[in-house]
Amino acid sequence: MVQLSRTAQLDAAFAALADATRRGVLEQLGRADASITDLAARFDMTLTGMKKHVGVLEAAGLVATAKVGRVRTCRLGPRQLDEVTAWIDRYRRMWSARFDELDQVIEDLKQQEKARSR
């Protein structure tokens, strides 16, 4: 596996997370370790296609793989995932908090309109 600097690895992690299938793979691995064959079947994908996705996730440090016999097993690289999601989570919380208050402002505007049209 190519070793990336910390920043480059975070960038790679974001790029890796931009794809729906790869996010799905992470969710799946969050529930249980799986072989590439299992993942390919679950996501209805060729073995080659899934190998590529896992390769991207592995390069980003989001997934770790180990070959046992002829089977390559994938599991989460949890520390990296936490780093990536922590920032996104704060960003989402900020917007979520704003928009929840915006709901109230809009509700007031609706009430005012209703009152005027009476």
Binding site: F14, A18, I88, R90, M94, W95, A97, L102, D103, E107
Partner: protein, 152 residues
Amino acid sequence: MKNETRVERKSEREMIVTRTFDAPARLVFEAWTKAELMRRWWVPKSSGITLLSCEMDVRTGGGYRFVFAAEPEPMAFFGRYLEVTPCSRLVWTNDESGDAGQLSTLTLEEHGDTTRAVLHELYPSAEALEAAKGSYDGMPESFGQLDALLAG
């Protein structure tokens, strides 16, 4: 039941925030373009941050300036409106970080009785987005506490 706020990192220099509001687009637009309404929600109570002033001149080429209480001195966020299309589109710059500021585009789409708001934030470079991340490190944990309170 609150609507979900979705966040997506679209590329190495783009973020997209999506939220549905149970109101026509003109009301969402109004709340986003009148200073007296904006100041009620832009700085959520749960953030513990005090907004000292909020000036907005919402027209193409007009400017805005928000000033927040901070130590050692108040912090200003400002920029210009590049596009103002009533009820559907608002584009503004974020100039407080010089050239590193993002370009924000708000698009409102009405679907029946609801409005889908999509906020697109485009940073000039991957490095600029990287640098902006740091500002979220200081986000008060109270956002999370509020969520917990509401969920409980």
